[in-house]
Symmetry: C2
Subunit: 281 residues, 2 copies
């Protein structure tokens, strides 16, 4: 089995490692618009060889597109031109626009829309690491639009690298993702900006930062080139969540300001439920 991975960053690079380690394939062909990343992926032994896109697609069994979600739409359109029996999948954090972009494509059946839920705040080939996907969840969207053999191969691939699979409509996926992933990034970026802004006034403000602060701002280290297209593709859902989040903050602020500590305490008790909810998954 030969797999072509287009986009040799954190996700593409880590998949390259796991797919060969798990024995799912013997050869990984790498493609990246960034020549430095291609060189680096070869040097790090993430991929066996680098080929131009057309040749890479024509000479493999499975194509994984692991580029930022705005580029995914363009790359998929290009890849589909060279596909006959190959299977094509993506790893994008948004799904509706990507699925829609291929709705009329004659090779739509060869494509399986997927979102493996794993990542770190790092990026590029040097961020790739083995075993990250193990025991995590991958979402396959609109599976009925994929050919049965294409779907099977992608399912097999994710099982090989230890992932659990759930199936979801692309529209529903994007709403869920706005609530349990995209808003976390927004709040983390906003929190980092709030504190960096203050740093200009107060020297050494970060000296006192403990593990709690680090955990809430960790996602603010994430790559804007990855996240800007995710936010823009999921704009409508995300705007709704940001509005709701601002309302919650304003409510807490008003209760604190007016000294209604009993109501504030009740809100915190309610928020505590998040622990049980996450454990019960």
């Amino acid at each position: 089995m030969t797999v072509t991975i287009i986009g040799l960053g954190l996700i593409g690079g880590s998949m390259a490692l796991d797919l060969r380690n798990s024995g799912f394939c013997d050869t990984v062909i790498g493609v990246d618009s960034n020549k430095g990343h291609e060189k680096s992926a070869l040097a790090l032994n993430l991929v066996n060889k680098i080929l131009p896109l057309e040749e890479a697609v024509r000479n493999c069994d499975l194509v994984i597109v692991a580029v930022p979600v705005d580029a995914t739409v363009l790359v998929l359109a290009e890849v589909m031109k060279f596909v006959d029996k190959q299977v094509v999948t993506d790893v994008g954090s948004t799904k509706e626009l990507i699925v829609n972009s291929l709705a009329m494509n004659k090779n739509r059946g060869r494509f399986v829309a997927a979102h493996p839920i794993w990542g770190t705040e790092k990026s590029g080939p040097t961020a790739a690491l083995p075993g990250g996907f193990n025991n995590r969840l991958t979402v396959i969207c609109n599976k009925e639009e994929s050919d049965p053999d294409a779907l099977s191969l992608v399912e097999k691939m994710y099982k090989n690298i230890g992932m659990n699979i759930i199936y979801m409509d692309a529209l529903k996926h994007d709403i869920h993702a706005a609530y349990i992933s995209h808003i976390s990034h927004i709040t983390s970026f906003a929190l980092a900006l709030t504190v960096l802004e203050k740093e200009k006034e107060i020297e050494s403000i970060f000296q006192l930062a403990g593990a709690g602060f680090e955990s809430t701002v960790r996602l603010a280290k994430s790559n804007p080139d990855t996240w800007m297209p995710i936010f823009s593709q999921n704009k409508e859902n995300l705007l709704e969540v940001i509005d709701e989040h601002i309302l919650q903050l304003q409510n807490m602020k008003n209760l604190l300001e007016s000294g209604d500590y009993e109501a504030f305490h009740t809100l915190m008790k309610k928020a505590n439920q998040i622990g049980k909810v996450l454990e019960s998954r």
Copy 2:
């Protein structure tokens, strides 16, 4: 050396463990208004014995007050009645109101105001664990108001459990704490509420939650009995930070809404600096 710890929760219990493990003292006397916590602390061998407050204070060299910050003010006033040569310290996350409450106390010199910066989202004696304070920072406030021997003993104690010490004015401490600790808790509580609210509408929303979401909502599991008094005592500083944070969120929202992705990208790049700033500490 005998140490009395009043408040046998996460912080008091963990200090009890580390103080004996490090050899700083041979006996820890425990006091807690919650009889269940006293029993549990004895059973877990966090403390050697339980005594009533007056007796505990009279029969020790050092008193550590490790109760929620609203109770700290009351407990300190009580403790000070029984003090002659003993040293008294607290571990509160706010410092100005606590320091002010003792400004006129005849035993003010015996008191050392401190804030060891460590904790988890858990609480109670069962949350106590050894080694947590190691390599972390403790802030000692208004040290010039403490007797030199009292200050020395508290410094020695913190060094014994592996902490680094910095000195700060109580007022300045509270402003810093609002920015790099208290606001993180507020945003985490608000984020949990935002998503729990949505959960009523969408089934199984948490299935897709990854490590990023968990890291941003971890602090929402924190104990309201600990945090409500912290927020109320640091109300003025915290309200200012919440306002600034809401402004940052509204700014990001407006840029997303109007499609100004270039400016949004620039903001994220700026937020990325938090990584370097935290590393350079």
